[in-house]
């Protein structure tokens, strides 16, 4: 239960006590709001008194008569607008001239309640104002959170982009100053590591492109029938050279060729990421496998490997951006830390789920469930 503070400024005591009586027993509720709203009414008989009270109490809603003994209602409105106070104002007035209506609207009044009003008229007006105030605050809060998340993302990103540059710079300096010897062979490790860091940086940039694609490009016209078996064999072809190099055997088991409605590019991102992970975090001579199965309503895709596995602790943060599990077994594997966060974003976009089960040194299984026809993609 949340309480909204209402300030009523009117020189007629009857109006003030009427408003208090009606609103003190009123509550507003909507299915999309977390809680009910109730109201606490304060009264002022003049604009000057009203300003004193609003400076002290900072009400959420103000009901304002225009014709007041001292300063007028529109003056109070202007006072609020100049200070950017977050107060929703409705004018209560018996005869609103066009001139005053225009000025009041310009200064931020959002509603006019004609006097005399019935309790029902007041209630429905307050109901609208409450809804508007609620939405305004939620929007503001979401914007703030969005900014914060973007800022965090960018600061981590710049760290991830700078680390390989620092490494390259260090190695090049080492060579420039011939610190390890005069022969090119003296620099075999720095050269090898530099190439690896460049590859890592390239992967990071590719992943970033994937990430922007997902965020920007989900368009209805791209949604089409996608054969999961087809995407899977494409992904396996892509990863094959790497799998041969790693001596990992990659298998595809299509129990039923499921067709889903999706943007094929999105589904390819999921398959490419998970199958290349299954190879990358494997052991020499290991196995990786994609299983595709389905029920009437959903597709089930399982990526399993006999790789290095993930400890229970580490699986918790696995899908967060830039999270890489650092240990003895992963130290020579390059990765951007974005792959799984991208996969999760895509899966959630299609109202699906992703689950991971893993045993260190035995292997990891990712299970994805996707509805065959996503209801609504936004």
């Amino acid at each position: 239960m949340a309480v909204l503070k209402v300030l009523v400024i009117d020189d007629e005591p009857g109006i003030r006590s009427g408003v208090s009586r009606i609103l003190n027993n009123f509550h507003v509720t909507y299915p999309f709001m977390d809680e009910d709203y109730t109201f606490e009414v304060t009264e002022a008989g003049t604009g000057e008194e009203g300003i004193t009270i609003l400076e002290r109490d900072m009400p959420d809603i103000m009901l304002l008569d225009n014709k007041l003994p001292g300063i007028q209602g529109v003056d109070v409105l202007e006072y609020i607008r100049k200070r950017n106070y977050d107060i929703v104002v409705a004018m209560i007035t018996s005869y609103a001239s066009l001139d005053i209506a225009v000025r009041a609207t310009r200064d931020g009044a959002i509603d006019f309640i004609p006097k005399p009003f019935t309790p029902q008229e007041l209630k429905s007006s307050i109901e609208n104002i409450t809804k508007q105030q609620y939405l305004k605050r939620i929007t503001h809060k979401m914007k703030q959170e969005g900014k914060k998340i973007r800022y965090q993302f960018l600061s981590v990103l710049s760290h991830e982009l700078k680390a390989p540059l620092n490494a390259l710079e260090g190695y090049l300096r080492m060579m420039q100053e011939k610190q390890a010897g005069d022969m090119i062979d003296d620099y075999a490790t720095p050269i090898e590591r530099s190439l690896q860091r460049i590859q890592g940086m390239r992967n990071l940039i590719m992943d970033l492109l994937d990430l922007t694609k997902i965020k920007l490009e989900v368009k209805d016209e791209k949604i089409q029938e996608v054969s999961l078996a087809e995407v899977a064999s494409g992904a396996i072809t892509t990863v094959r050279p790497y799998a041969i190099q790693m001596d990992v055997n990659v298998d595809l088991d299509v129990r039923s060729d499921v067709i889903i409605m999706a943007d094929p590019g999105d589904i390819e991102i999921v398959f490419n990421n998970l199958i290349s992970n299954a190879v990358k975090y494997n052991k020499i001579g290991g196995k990786a496998k994609i299983t595709i199965d389905g029920s009437d309503s959903e597709a089930i895709i399982i990526f399993s490997d006999t790789g290095i596995g993930i400890s229970k602790n580490d699986t918790e943060d696995l899908f967060a951006e830039f999270v890489r599990i650092k240990n003895e077994k992963t130290r020579n594997i390059t990765g951007s830390g974005l792959g799984l966060s991208i996969v999760k974003k895509v899966v959630e976009l299609y109202h699906g789920t992703i689950k991971v089960e893993s045993t260190p040194d035995v292997g990891t299984t990712f299970t994805i469930r996707l509805p065959k026809k996503p209801i609504n993609i936004t």
């Binding site: 981590v156 710049s158 760290h159 700078k162 680390a163 590591r193």
Partner: protein, 131 residues
Amino acid sequence: MKKSDYTILIADDDPDYLFQTVFNLERAGYKTMAVESQAEAEAVIAKFKPSLAIFDLMMESDDSGFILCYKIKRKYPEVPVILATAVSHETGLSFSIDSEQEKSWIRADRYLEKGIRAEQLDQEIMKLLKL
């Protein structure tokens, strides 16, 4: 004492930064001990007292370096510590350990930006070891 009588502990989760720092310090004449995580660094500190330590700020957690500074200073208050990181550029956070107040919570003796040249790092170390 000669430089080779000093062992420097370096903790950093970037294997290349670690490799380069070890390389530079050994070339300058120091003995080194390199670890790749806060956990490993803690294990080393438990058994061994280095002559000086260089810690990266962000390893397993965002404040690994601070935690290591605190732990090593509690066990060996006289061991000089350098915090090395690139963090201030990205986050806009800036630390310096000039004032007494900052010294009281950042328990490091020097705060250095990553990417400083080998000679500069050697200079700072010599100052801290009073060489």
